[in-house]
């Protein structure tokens, strides 16, 4: 089951279906064992996750440069967030990226999953080949490659030259730099594609058979069978990809040389956070930025969950 379904189940009150009880009398008596098995995780949760979250909350109300003690400044960091044009720009850049790259990537993933239907010869081969970019796409090496591919003397321009089209410096132009990153994200459609493939396999062949008998064409079958039954998986992919896309860092960093440029056009939110917190001694502000990010991600996820009621079809 997906993370998403689990959370839904946990959130809903039990509908009279109890979780399978542990028989043989060890119910609730596993406390000690659980403590041992969960010890590393508890430690991690406390020391590495929750503890720092609390500390970060505190720090967001201070001015702190890691060299001298934090000075309390109240909500100044937060008010600064909304007055900082570069921060607002980074939000704009990030939102643009999320709202273009994620849908396009998912559409590509779904399309390919549909094309790679059952019984296709060489399916494993195609699947692997299309998946490979997904694996390598997050690496610095590929980001370096991408920067060159879209540079002035790069591959893309050489290719265009074959058709007599004069290319330009795609990564050095504020109008196009971000979209080279969007393209990079779309290139990595392999992972969601595999999830879609698995989801498609779960749709019983019977339904399609029955529809064929009724005379339904390909499009009709897609609209009435495939799409509705896939919606939980589309939803799952959407949630995860959106959360991931908001946290994009490596590609923007490498392609822009760490500057978020040119002219802040690739200044992803996390990149700005990094600059502020780790190079400009402004850790209080970076903490406030981090909490804003949590808020944004949480809100987006909640919106996703809420909207899912209207278009996701569960058969439980």
């Amino acid at each position: 089951m997906s993370v998403v379904t689990e959370l839904r189940r946990a959130a809903r009150p039990a509908k009279g279906v109890k979780a399978a009880p542990s028989r043989r009398g060890l119910r609730n008596g596993d406390g000690k064992a659980a403590a041992v098995f969960l010890l590393p995780w508890f430690l991690g949760l406390g020391l590495i996750t929750i503890g720092p979250m609390v500390a970060s909350g505190y720090l967001s109300f201070t001015d702190y440069d890691l060299l001298q003690s934090p000075t309390w400044i109240g909500i100044e960091n937060y008010t600064r967030l909304f007055e900082d044009p570069r921060l607002l720009n980074s939000l704009r850049v990030t939102f643009t990226y999320v709202f273009t790259a994620v849908p396009l990537q998912l559409i590509a993933a779904l399309a390919l999953a549909l094309i790679l239907d059952r019984g296709l010869k060489g399916l494993p081969f195609y699947r692997s080949v299309l998946y490979l970019p997904s694996l390598l796409g997050g690496s610095v090496a590929v980001a370096i490659l991408w920067r060159q591919v879209f540079g002035i003397d790069g591959l893309v321009n050489e290719f265009l030259a074959l058709f007599g089209v004069q290319g330009k410096g795609w990564v050095s132009d504020p109008d196009t730099a971000l979209y080279t990153l969007v393209l990079l994200h779309i290139w990595t459609f392999g992972a969601p594609m595999i999830i879609f493939l698995a989801g498609l396999r779960q749709i019983p062949e019977m339904y399609y058979e029955a529809a064929s008998i009724d005379g339904a064409g390909v499009v009709r079958k897609f609209r009435s069978i495939t799409l509705p039954l896939l919606t939980p998986i589309i939803f799952f992919n959407l949630v995860l990809q959106v959360i991931g896309a908001f946290q994009s860092f490596t590609q923007a960093f490498v392609v822009s040389g760490g500057t978020g440029g040119p002219a802040d056009s690739t200044m992803f939110y996390t990149l700005y956070l990094y600059q502020k917190g780790f190079t400009a001694f402004d850790m209080g502000y970076a903490s406030a930025m981090a909490w804003l990010l949590v808020l944004i991600v949480a809100v987006m996820t909640l919106i996703n969950f809420f909207a899912s009621k209207f278009w996701v079809f569960y058969d439980d």
Binding site: V36, L66, G169
Partner: protein, 436 residues
Amino acid sequence: MRRPRSSVRVGALLAVAALALTACAGSDEPAAEATSSGPPEAVEIRFSWWGSDTRHELTQQVLDKFEEKYPYITVVPDYTDWNSYFDKLGTAVAGGDAPDVITQEERFLNEYASRGVLADVSKLGVDTSKIDDSVLQSGTIDDALYGVATGVNAYSIIADPAAFAAAGIEMPDDTTWTWEEYVEIANEVSAKTGKAVYGAQDYGFNEPGFSIFARQRGESLYTDDAKLGYDEKTLAEWWQYSLDLQTGGGQPDAAKTIEVDAGGPEQSLVATGTGAMAWFWTNQLTAITNASGKELKLLRVPGESESERTGMYFKPAMYYSISAKSEHPEESALLVDFLLNDPAAGEILLSDRGLPANTDVRAAVQDKFSATDKQAAEFLADLEDEIVDGPPVPPVGAGQVAEITRRINQEVLFGRLSPADAAKQYTLEVGSAIGS
């Protein structure tokens, strides 16, 4: 209820194994500290600097000589390019892992000093007696010497006579030329060579250029009391000339400019033989000459005799500072002393870090100067009568100005901001950066 003994044991064993593994993989810790008395124990110090490959090689040679003289000290080099140097330094300092000896720059000196990152060099036994007082002043804040200037240079234009010849244009007379003429000549060079050779490289990324421009008009970038000292119209004018060059073809289009700038001095237009003029510091002449393989010329910037006064100035090229948290301050001081005062170091570095600040060293190595060093030295000597004064020490927060300048320049080049609007925004951002 059974106790899960085996799982605990296994888990513990694995955890210990993991920690042991990571302990082995940890960083090299510096060996035992040198005691102030008795035979010195082996010490390791870290020295950071920025620059091109030429400087890295030279510095490495100097460090080898230093280690010959003090065999118990090992110097771990930590060098990067200029663009990412201060980002990385910031991270290192914030993480409590600052290098022992740090190459500093005037824009950042104040900032680091005010955060208590730098030690007072004068208290560590570095001999500064042979260094000119005014030079020492530039690194002194509130009576503490936070950085010793390594040498002196000036922001100027490096020109390629061969490029001018190829375009069939005479080299300009740099004592009289105006800004208009600068633009015209650059445009002409581009036109005559069909852009095979551009007239100039964009100058807008670096604010020293504007500092000179403002000074020529009796204004200045900063004032003595850490405020902004220029008129926005002046700044707009400065950027307008840039745009004139771009539209006139004298400099490449915006995207190319950005790519070229990212490549540093050795990728500049002049260094690659595709440009006639570029703005650089005099001590970068050697590196660029090496890269271009031709003989280059140093020119005064335009407009030196055009307005009220000259704008060029002598800049302390860079500083050597010592980390306040260094575990080996004495050894660090020895290194700084060696770099500044030892003729052996001077012979190797020559004028790579500016004309040597130590006057004795400067005199001693004058004969060893390469052709380019001599060029730079003569050029600076010529300027001595013309240069009136130096600009005030950049205030705290000036470190951000480098990035602000670069970014706003990009906006101007791409036509996203008009020079007037750019000037306004720049003033706003720099103003808030320096807290004025």
